[in-house]
Structures are given as structure tokens and as C-alpha cells.
């Protein structure tokens, strides 16, 4: 059983500080939904508002269309997985998992049965008698999930639960979380500052900045069609090129920059006029080394500064004549031995792979 979660004009203030500002979003039942944003953007505050630990200063949280105001965290159909997991160190793994049943007065044998079922779900059969400190990081993670699932919540809330794990484990847990979500088929609301995590697991993501929702949508849409310069630079990497609008022809826009005129694409709901200040964004993977048979409608003259080898790709750092920094990446399979530091080359990019947005602050890393 899954439930819809709806935030309706939710604001949370601490004194005069808005931790969350007028947030409205509807999360569908059974969805894997992520709030993505830098630390301090208010995403944890929203999660606490959904779980009941934080009353919204304004607005309402609705779960299954029922207003949750005045209902404590122990009475909501939600379960929260804490960033540090908050497993009970003095209890065994089974006791941890069955804690929610214990407090509901479920008999010991039934509790044990349910704990065993859940241990099987998380592939820790027969390890119920262990103490929490005897488990590895990934196992603890899974126990925390099992503990949260024990009472069959309708909504599972996850507060950056993977942040303490090492890279390999984190990647494996992403797949595992996704699989568990499919198996139990309940709403997952996930909080993270890691866009890779959000993109790989989620059905939809909400990008947050300074307490406000910048954009909500399916992962590919947010990545390919960012609505604001913040989203464009926070989700994935992007090269901003500043300039003024020269012409608008349907979806194709020309932008006049100190480094020349480039063609880019404008979204339907972006409001830009001739001569407006704007930024054209083009991602590192959309910039290509020139080849004779390619036919890009933009050519970007850059001077190479440095190079880094990442394994599957090679990253090049360069600058334009005006000084604007440009990063582009090339698959490792392509030979780049002729590109040296200081060499000037023309990169090609397709206007359809570039997005133009009104000038606004970027996400600062």
C-alpha cells in the first residue's frame, strides 16, 4: 500500500529565516521521488515536515489526502531513515527490526516471524541475533531499511542514508534501494545533495535552492531542460556562456557573446526578448572535437589549459578568448594525443543540445 503525499504551500520559518518557502508539490503513490539540493537548502526540513517532527509554519502536509496537522510522527503512516541510520546499538538486529511491532504490542513469536521475513528481504538471514556494531556499513543500511519497513508504512522517507558509505557500496545500494522500492511498492521520498544518486534512482526529482523548489520533473527532463541557471549548473555539469539575445526564431535563439554569436534553444516557458541578458548552457559531453563529416551549427574556438583522465572519459579544461572557462569531455576511445596544453581548437556543438536561460545566479559548488 502506497500513499500520495502532497505539500500545499508549505513554509517553515526559524525566526525570520525561511528554511522552506511556499513549497507545493504532489508526490504520487508508489513513486520514487527525490528532493535534490545543496546542504542548507531546506530539503531535510521538508522531510521532517512530512514525517511530523517539524510543524510547517504555514501550509499543509497531506498524506492520502488527509491533513496531517497535529498528528505526531508516531501516528503517521510514514517511516524515516535517518542520515546516521539511528539504529539502536543496545538491541540485536532482530529487536531493531521488530521494534515498531514491539511498541504496538505484537506478540514475541509474531515479531520474530516478521523480523525473519524482513531479514530475508534484505539478505541477512540468520543474522538477527547479532548486535548492530557487528555488521558492516552496507548491512547496517539494510537493517535500517528493514526496521522502517516492519510496520508496512505507506511512505518511506530517506534522509541521505547513503552519504556515509564508500563509493562502490553507495553505487550498489542505489540499485538495491530501487529494487526494494519496486518489491514493496510504496512511496519513497529521498533527500540528497548528490545529483548522481537522485538521477539514477528517482522517477521524479525536485531541485531545491534556498528553501524554494526550482524545478520538479522526471530526471531526464530536469537534466535536459533545466528551467533556471541554478538547476542547469546544479544537476550535472554545464558551461555557461554569457551574452545578449540577438534574434529569436521559433525555438532557435541567437546569442551575442564577446566570443561570437552562438545558436541555442529556448524552452516554451522561458520568457526572453531581444537584447535581454541571457546565458547559453552547453554540457561538457555535448561539446565535440571537430571531425570533417560532422555538421554542427556552432563552432566554439577554445584554448586548452589542462586535461584529466577519469577512466571512461577524458576531461579537458579550456578557455575562450574572453576568458570564459569551458570544460568538455571526450570518450576514452577517441584518440586525443594531438591535443596539447595551449593548443587552439574549434569545438562543435548542436544548438539543440544547448539551452538558453535568463541571466540568474548559478549553483556555486
Amino acid at each position: 500500500m502506497s500513499a500520495d503525499v502532497e505539500l500545499s504551500n508549505v513554509s517553515v520559518t526559524f525566526g525570520s529565516f525561511f528554511a522552506a518557502k511556499n513549497v507545493s508539490v504532489k508526490i504520487e503513490g508508489g513513486e520514487f521521488f527525490s528532493f535534490l539540493g545543496p546542504s542548507g537548502c531546506g530539503k531535510t526540513t521538508l522531510l521532517r515536515a512530512i514525517s511530523g517532527f517539524q510543524d510547517p509554519s504555514e501550509g499543509n502536509v497531506l498524506i492520502d489526502n488527509k491533513d496531517m496537522s497535529g498528528i505526531g510522527p508516531n501516528k503517521r503512516p510514514t517511516a524515516l531513515i535517518f542520515q546516521n541510520l539511528a539504529l539502536f546499538p543496545l538491541m540485536t538486529v532482530s529487536e531493531n527490526i521488530a521494534f515498531s511491532l514491539e511498541v504496538r504490542g505484537v506478540s514475541k513469536t509474531d515479531r520474530q516471524k516478521r523480523a525473519d521475513e524482513l531479514l530475508e528481504l534484505i539478505a541477512l538471514e540468520g543474522q538477527g541475533e547479532k548486535k548492530v556494531h557487528q555488521l558492516s556499513g552496507g548491512q547496517k543500511q539494510r537493517v535500517a531499511i528493514a526496521r522502517a519497513l516492519a510496520v508496512e508504512p505507506k511512505v518511506l522517507l530517506l534522509d541521505e542514508p547513503l552519504s556515509a558509505l564508500d563509493l562502490k557500496l553507495r553505487q550498489r545500494m542505489r540499485t538495491e534501494l530501487r529494487e526494494i522500492q519496486k518489491r514493496v511498492n510504496i512511496t519513497f521520498i529521498y533527500i540528497t545533495h548528490d545529483q548522481g544518486e537522485a538521477l539514477t534512482m528517482s522517477d521524479r526529482i525536485a531541485v531545491m535552492n534556498e528553501g524554494e523548489l526550482e524545478q520538479v520533473g522526471p530526471c531526464d527532463e530536469v537534466y535536459n531542460n533545466p528551467r533556471t541557471p541554478f538547476v542547469a549548473t546544479f544537476v550535472g555539469e554545464n558551461n555557461p556562456i554569457y551574452g545578449r539575445i540577438k534574434s529569436i526564431d521559433g525555438k532557435t535563439v541567437e546569442i551575442d557573446t564577446p566570443d561570437g554569436i552562438f545558436r541555442s534553444t529556448i524552452n516554451d516557458n522561458t520568457n526572453l526578448n531581444i537584447n535581454d541578458d541571457a546565458i547559453a548552457f552547453v554540457r561538457p559531453e555535448s561539446l565535440f572535437l571537430p571531425r570533417s563529416d560532422d555538421n554542427f551549427d556552432n563552432s566554439l574556438p577554445v584554448i586548452i589549459d589542462s586535461f584529466e583522465f577519469e577512466g571512461n572519459i577524458k576531461n579537458f579544461y579550456a578557455h575562450l578568448k574572453s576568458g570564459t572557462k569551458i570544460k568538455f569531455s571526450v570518450p576514452n576511445a577517441i584518440d586525443t594525443s594531438h591535443i596539447k596544453n595551449g593548443s587552439s581548437i574549434n569545438l562543435g556543438f548542436d544548438s539543440q543540445k544547448s539551452i538558453i536561460l535568463p541571466k540568474a545566479p548559478l549553483a556555486i559548488d
Binding site: 517532527f53 505526531g72 510522527p73 510514514t78 539502536f88 543496545l90 521494534f99 515498531s100 511498541v103
Partner: protein
């Protein structure tokens, strides 16, 4: 030999002067302040009570008479047992256990509030308010309570004044003053171990329990108290030992017809000039305290290292 001694890692690490200072201080404390007085008292408790001049003479020999006196009373007594002393002893133990539990019940919510609920400035204010009264000597605090609890004291005057009661309550006669005084006397020794233990609990643990559907009572019973157990045992042992050995508070606050066991010891030492019997009674008190600590550790499955953290 000398040079070997000084090449030990302890000397190398701390330097010769500091190392010697450490050793002297520790040895002085342990030998002169712990071992010798206790051994001397133990030895004295098994000796006959003779004036100092006759020490080592024919009348000074080892005997169980003081311990026998505690159990059976004087040889000329009519009763089979020393009901008076045993009664005082038993009552002291029972009341001390009660005082300890009452102290725990009183301190736990305050410690929890200061450690986990209050904002930092309120917490500081509360801690200071707890400490300030203890800048005043225990004896003076007891007298202050005596003034409050006396038959014509502040509490009775106020209660009769506003008409809640017609006649003053006999707080002192019924030892209510004594119990209050004893609970208050060592409250800090319960408060701080409890506070430290609760303070170190991750707030997420409490929230996790609540999120999993646990009531407030359950959360305390299953999460907070188990975590605070070493602090509880530590506080209880200290409060019990100090209460069972308290002298000033009972002298000032107990009703005229009740005696506290340390008062009995005091009488043997000072009024009856029988240091041997006083020593024997002290040893009995010491043994009871040790048994209490060991029992607490056994019941709560706590090791000594956890208590003295």
C-alpha cells in the same frame, strides 16, 4: 638498577621530575589515604577497647566482641539480639534505598530536560541553579530545611495562614524533613552522571523510536534508560553510599527518637570513647556499601569501568 629504573617508558615519556611527582602523589594517596586507614580500622575493629597506655599489654587482644555486640547486644542484655542497633542499621539501609530511588525518580526528568529538551541558555541556567545552593555547607543547608520544616516553621505557617490546614504538620517528628534533606543533600551526584549519560545519546535515536510508533514512555524505557544505565548505576551507588554514611543531615533533621547508623558510629567514637566498636560498625557499613554496589552492577549488568566513566 637505578639507571634501569629511569629508562622505563613512563619516565621517558613524562620526564624525570614529573614522573617522580606522579608516582609520589599516587603512592601517597593509595597507601596513606586508602590502604593504611582502612587496614588500621579493620585491625582496630577486632581488638579489645583499651586505653592507649595499655595497648600491646595483656588486655589488648583480638576478639569478635564488637561484631557480636552489633548482632547480640551486650552480654548482660535480656534480649536475644541487639534489636536497637540492628533496627537502626536496617532502617538506615532501607531509607537509604528509598532516598536513592526517590533521587533517581526526581533527577531523571530534570536531567533529561536539561540534556535533550532545553535550549543551551536555559540548560546553563538550570545547571547553575542546581549548583549554587551547594556552595553552602551541608550542615547549613540542613538547618535551612529545619527552619522550613519546623512545627512553627515557614511551611506550616504558610499552610495554616492560607487555611489549607488547621494545625501544623509534624514534618520533623515523622522524619519528612530528614528524607527531604537526604534526597536534596546528594542530588548533584545523581544529576551529573545521569545528565552526562543522557547527553551522550544521539537525538536521532529518540526520534527514530518515536517515528517507529513508540510512545514517550516506551521510548524512555527501551532507548533512553538502557543508554543511560551506566549513569543511573553510577548515580545510585554514589547517592546510596553517601546517604548511608550521612551524619550532618540526620543530626539536624531527624526526629528526636530516630537514629541514623552513622550517628551510632559517631557515638561509639566520640561519646563512648570506644574506637574499636566504632571501627567494627564502620566496617559493617563499608561491607554493606560494597554489597550494594556489586548488586547494582549485577542487576544492571554494568561493569565497573562503565560506572566510573
Amino acid at each position: 638498577m637505578n639507571s634501569y629504573f629511569f629508562t622505563q617508558p613512563f619516565f621517558k615519556k613524562n620526564g624525570r621530575a614529573i614522573a617522580i611527582y606522579f608516582l609520589v602523589a599516587i603512592i601517597f594517596w593509595f597507601v596513606f589515604l586508602v590502604i593504611i586507614p582502612q587496614l588500621y580500622m579493620l585491625d582496630l575493629s577486632f581488638r579489645t577497647n583499651v586505653p592507649p597506655l595499655e595497648r600491646g599489654g595483656p588486655k589488648d587482644f583480638y576478639t569478635f566482641e564488637h561484631y557480636q555486640h552489633f548482632v547480640f547486644g551486650s552480654k548482660t542484655a535480656q534480649d536475644a539480639f541487639n534489636f536497637v542497633d540492628l533496627g537502626v542499621f536496617g532502617r538506615t539501609i532501607l531509607v537509604s534505598i528509598f532516598v536513592t530511588l526517590a533521587n533517581l525518580a526526581f533527577c531523571y526528568p530534570i536531567a533529561f530536560y536539561i540534556a535533550k529538551i532545553a535550549n543551551p541558555s536555559t540548560a546553563r541556567l538550570l545547571i547553575v541553579s542546581l549548583i549554587i545552593p551547594f556552595w553552602i555547607n551541608e550542615l547549613l543547608r540542613s538547618f535551612a530545611l529545619r527552619i522550613l520544616f519546623a512545627n512553627e516553621g515557614v511551611i506550616n505557617n504558610v499552610l495554616t495562614g492560607i487555611g489549607i490546614i488547621d494545625q501544623g504538620i509534624l514534618f520533623i517528628t515523622y522524619d519528612i524533613g530528614l528524607y527531604t534533606g537526604l534526597i536534596y543533600a546528594y542530588i548533584l551526584l545523581m544529576m551529573f552522571p545521569l545528565y552526562n549519560a543522557i547527553e551522550s545519546l544521539d537525538v536521532n535515536q529518540i526520534e527514530a523510536a518515536k517515528d517507529l510508533g513508540s510512545s514517550t514512555f516506551r521510548t524512555h524505557w527501551r532507548v533512553v534508560i538502557p543508554h543511560a544505565k551506566p549513569g543511573i548505576v553510577s548515580g545510585c551507588t554514589m547517592v546510596f553510599m553517601l546517604t548511608v554514611g550521612a551524619l550532618a543531615t540526620p543530626v539536624v533533621l531527624s526526629s528526636p527518637n530516630t537514629l541514623w547508623f552513622p550517628q551510632l558510629i559517631y557515638q561509639w567514637f566520640n561519646m563512648n570513647d570506644n574506637w574499636s566498636r566504632g571501627s567494627a560498625y564502620s566496617i559493617i557499613l563499608l561491607i554493606i556499601s560494597v554489597i550494594f554496589v556489586l548488586t547494582m552492577m549485577r542487576i544492571f549488568k554494568v561493569r565497573i569501568g562503565e560506572i566510573i566513566r
